[in-house]
Symmetry: C2
Subunit: 220 residues, 2 copies
């Protein structure tokens, strides 16, 4: 990475279209990653692509993904080294962009695409920190307010690491780009904003009455 | 497909874990697909996976994706035949599942994974119907209330088709599955629901004052 804190573009992180929407700025990439917790993990199995939704955490310039030691991509990343080529994509949808013409309809979004090779995390301290990061990524503050994994649980959980090196973000904002000759058409034009909204927390049936709702929950 | 309207499981749509969360029911699959509009498209380029967010539409048992004729996966699907092996995944997050133990934290979600080979759509009537389906998938009713693509726009737009054949859905609902010995721990436990919520439509600056907000917008 350059001193400007920018990911170096590579051939595959260079957009072929809408290049003005691309950014390699580290701070922007981290902000997009940190405001989501679900990614889509792509890998190749028997020559064909597989895309699965999964949670992730970030620690510095590393992404961590986890799963059962029995899960296919986690097994594949573990054996044999040198790891599993993956693509991890994180997308926020921010709005539906309605143009007068069908052609110019679009979506406002923020997206990060990470290419690289995932490696298993076996060192206990890194693995434990990765699992904390995964829990805290979903709900900051939650890792410290839950029982940490015991030896059996840690043994049943595989963690893989993906370094943030070959990374790009793509962002679209703003209204529709209608053709000048379409402006007089009688179709509504604009943006319908959309965002994930959290509802009221639903306590477990067996939750003791004296356990208050934690502040980090209300903060969502 | 069987008479029971169920997608036939294959080796790669058979889950290795949490099999009770899998379903191959056609109606369930269609409902998950129809309540989203963004998918993550996976394909293989130079042996490595690529995952990109993109819009889709559904017509019967076919998914349609589109993009610029210059976009890489659309070019790859078009030449050479017999098409591009893809995996298309659609995921809804419905809630954050907070267990007393870090290990049992989870996500409530609905997800559909489609494996198959994408083929270019070149027949004009199918292509036009596919583009209408794409617009209407984002906002039902919108295709009829926008200017259809002209010859130049249609020529600049590539459409690919993916048959729904090798398909699985995976669904998690309900509260956390805490270990019996963890129930007395002093940690809040339950579910934080989450759903996409649409804000007030933002008209384009250049929208004529006499164009009312359409009913299909308010319905979101």
């Amino acid at each position: 990475m350059s001193l400007a804190e920018r990911y170096e573009p590579t051939e595959r992180t260079t957009l072929t279209r809408a290049r003005e929407r691309a950014t390699y700025d580290q701070e922007t990439v981290h902000a997009i990653l940190d405001s989501a917790y679900l990614c889509h993990l792509g890998y190749v199995r028997d020559g064909a692509p597989v895309v699965l939704p999964t949670l992730y955490g970030r620690v510095g310039d590393r992404l961590y993904l986890h799963g059962s030691t029995g899960s296919r991509p986690l097994r594949m990343a573990g054996e044999p080294d040198p790891g599993l080529p993956v693509c991890v994509t994180v997308t926020h949808v921010d709005g539906l962009v309605l143009a007068r013409s069908a052609f110019h309809h679009s979506i406002n979004y923020r997206c990060v695409v990470v290419h690289g090779t995932a490696h298993p995390v076996t060192e206990p301290a890194e693995k434990s920190a990765a699992l904390d990061a995964l829990v805290d990524h979903v709900l900051p503050g939650r890792a410290a307010d839950s029982r940490p994994g015991n030896a059996k649980e840690l043994a049943a959980t595989a963690v893989i690491r993906l370094d943030l090196r070959e990374v790009s973000a793509k962002i679209r904002t703003g209204g529709p780009n209608d053709e000048p000759e379409d402006l007089a058409l009688p179709h509504w034009s604009g943006v319908l904003p959309v965002a994930p909204v959290y509802g009221a927390p639903v306590p477990s049936d067996d939750l003791a009455a004296d356990i208050p709702q934690p502040a980090y929950l209300s903060a969502r």
